[in-house]
Symmetry: C2
Subunit: 485 residues, 2 copies
């Protein structure tokens, strides 16, 4: 059966559909030229080999400057831009130059233009060797004349954009739009973040892991009940999951062997720091191991190393865009990853003059070793109740944190897989056994030794890029004082 429509036929009437919302009559006229057959060129492809060709282009008006009988526009697509001009003469009327000069900045336009080589490089544009001589201009979407934030301010290291970015995008969506637009680091950060997720998943799928989806609305707060958001759920109430812990462990008990998940994690902590969010993206891993929980550490550190390598090899443009505004030392890592025991770490810090007790939680310390390392064997007292004790020294545990540039990005451990020991440890932590009954019962029907960890996506991106606030790597950050946009 052949489809009853012509693919890409693009009659004038069909094409007009997207113009419906445009108030510019020029836009409506554009529809009559059957643009479905029109090829739109990318700004980044405008090079001298296209010289003297007549091309079509859709872009934003980045800047606009009228000068006598000429009008100069800079047209932008993401981080790429090109100079375009229209001058009164054979091919353009006085009215057209005036029309061009009156287009508001940030408007989206379609232009037909001839590509011309220039004698002198245009230093202010990414396309330095050509300019466009416009013959037709249509406004596709007109921006309002007053912008909530000037792009020039957004990219200035000490400008308003800086303040906005550091604090998570200001209060309004359009400010956020503007600062993630064009040649600001916003696009680069979030393209790199997309890369982190893909590298994480690809590496694990290659290692035989299975992706799972875990529920976010749960009936009981599995980790004891503190710092949990409450949801009204029909005639009862429920909670938002603080981690996929219980669910990934259930999958291990169900013989999935190795699982991962990527999803939101919710923490009702009233922490207003550079590294805390109330909602963040968790990259979670859980796996059965054969003989030693260091098999888990090795899997996780290798995954991180694959991410670091993938970013280094495939995201240099993004890294350099961010570095231009926020200089930092390139991220460095060893192979295999440096792994120290907690007590060694404490000894090294004491040597460096830091005072701390044997069982203090060692986190967020300055960076004495490397940009990526593991601290192993934390004191049992500072870890959750389901952490496996160290059989050789019950003051310590088979648990670990991973650090990037001296800040914690992952917390993990071998988990207790025996219901009886788990009950004892929960009692020791004075946790109400009734509330975690379902969790403990999961281990009554044969559970393999297993361990895992959870990584905060925003922290990984922040620290890889050497940024200083997790709000810079969260597109729509949530903290105790911020719920919008």
């Amino acid at each position: 059966q052949s489809p009853p429509w012509g693919r890409g036929a693009g009659t004038a009437a069909e094409v007009e559909a997207f113009m419906w919302a445009d108030t510019q009559s020029s836009a409506k006229r554009a529809a009559l030229f059957s643009p479905a057959d029109r090829v739109l060129v990318k700004v980044q492809d405008l090079t001298p080999d296209k010289a003297d060709q007549l091309i079509w282009l859709r872009a934003r008006v980045h800047t606009s400057r009228a000068k006598g009988k000429q009008c100069f526009l800079v047209l932008r697509q993401q981080q790429f831009n090109v100079q375009a001009l229209v001058a009164v003469g054979d091919r353009a009327s006085k009215q057209m130059v005036k029309f061009a000069a009156n287009i508001n900045k940030e408007s989206i336009v379609d232009v037909e233009a001839v590509v011309r080589k220039v004698e002198q490089k245009i230093e202010s544009c990414s396309q330095q060797d050509v300019e466009l001589h416009m013959e037709r201009i249509f406004v596709i979407s007109q921006a309002e004349p007053r912008l909530p934030l000037q792009l020039e301010d957004a990219v200035r290291p000490d400008g308003e954009g800086e303040e906005v970015r550091r604090n998570g995008g200001g209060g309004t969506p359009h400010r956020k739009c503007i600062i993630t637009t064009g040649d600001t680091p916003g696009q680069a950060v979030f393209r790199l973040q997309s890369g982190v997720c893909q590298l994480f998943r690809d590496t694990l799928i290659n290692k035989g892991f299975v992706e799972i989806q875990t529920p976010k609305i749960i009936s009981a707060a599995s980790e004891g009940g503190a710092n949990v958001f409450t949801v009204s759920y029909f005639k009862t109430s429920a909670y938002l999951a603080q981690s996929p812990q219980l669910y990934k462990q259930m999958c291990i008990c169900a013989d999935f062997d190795k699982v991962f998940c990527v999803g939101p994690v919710f923490r009702a902590e009233d922490s207003n720091t550079h590294r805390h969010l109330t909602e963040f993206v968790g990259l979670d891993i859980e796996m059965a191991f054969n003989y030693h929980y260091h098999e888990v550490i090795d899997s996780i550190t290798d995954t991180m190393v694959q991410i670091f390598k993938g970013l280094r090899d495939n995201f240099q443009t993004e890294i350099q865009t961010v570095n231009k505004q926020y200089p930092s030392e390139p991220f460095k890592f060893l192979e295999p990853t440096l792994r120290l025991e907690y007590t060694e770490g404490v000894a090294m810090l004491r040597e460096a003059g830091v005072e701390m007790g044997d069982e203090d939680d060692l986190r967020s310390e300055p960076e004495p070793w490397d940009h990526f390392y593991v601290l192993d064997k934390y004191p049992l007292a500072v870890r959750p109740f389901y952490t496996m004790p160290d059989p050789n020294n019950p003051k310590y545990s088979n648990s670990y944190d991973m650090f990037m540039r001296g800040e914690e990005i992952l917390s993990g451990a071998q988990r207790i897989h025996d219901a009886q020991l788990l009950t004892e440890r929960a009692q020791h932590h004075q946790i109400d056994l009734e509330k975690i009954k379902a969790y403990i019962d999961s281990f009554r029907y044969g559970a393999p030794p297993h361990g895992g960890g959870g990584i905060g996506l925003e922290r990984v991106c922040m620290l890889y890029l050497g940024l200083h606030n997790v709000r810079q790597t969260s597109m729509f950050p949530r903290d105790p004082k911020r719920l919008t946009p």
Copy 2:
């Protein structure tokens, strides 16, 4: 700097760590054999070419049968299993046979055994040509003697497992564990689901899409306020996002051009049907287009076709495992995808005797056409306020649904990208403009024509496999009456 530990050195003390929780003294003894140097064989690799080799294996005790001086176990790893026996004689004592016979079903064991070819195929096992002659057995994790559900019942089409699966896993995690274990379809369904996610993302990344992360806790219900869950948020209240709609559109306004996201979506609808969940996984797409919203439909249908091909080519084992218990016709699809206009669909249904009005919502109809098709140009009245009207007929809209086996899996449209028209349409729907101000303002600074859609992961898996309840393809389903496990 060389790491201060020996990788894989596996001293007896280290190895003992994971045994800590085991009460079986045999397990503790196992630790003394330095098992870190031991290679564990996979059940699926036990073939005649391993005949007469001494191997180590970790597996679950699937069944156990003592018979005079012999004990037969079936050992299982996921969907693979093998027969293993121990008999009183030179290499095994009477005590050892008794020990083996007393191991509870579903316990996890390490065995040392010689692989032997068998004369007659063992029909009840996946490994039909060999059996294991066990020399040593250690219990790694002992299951409780009474299981909450027998695996045999779980796999019987009319058994308890069937009821449990159809209704979403019963009330307890261990029942859920058991039914997703071993040779039941559970493992297969969720491995295929993992594949759907990866195929979706890989296809879109190849097409130049960027993955974004959108917040789930939001300050205002962007779609008008019905069917939304409320969250207590410190001293105020917030909502759970019903879709990433606003956020993916903001990314388009911020020139990301093409974006997708995978994440939970929450609907406080009191719908108790085979196809509704209160929390499900949304696969969402949004993209700018050049001249016609059919560019968006083409991108989405091609993505779906890539998913269908990837499943067909790489997940046959999983599909057949599910089909064994739930027979269904293999999923069929055309290239290019069949696209009909809504009015054509109505006409065809009327011809088939179905009574309906011109503007009734056409969903969940029986399957007159194909396993995958698109219905285009829905009546404007049945679509959300932000849907672009059809410029040629204001009773209709530039919107579409996609169907698998006659059930809706995606709803999408060209979106209004002009603040003024959006305001008019919201007023027409009597939506409080104050509540959606941030959303409308997003379009005031230049917005490209764009469209997209949202797919329900669980529905796609259910309908691809020809299953009949979305709870069968949700590991931990949530509906108005179910919040656990």
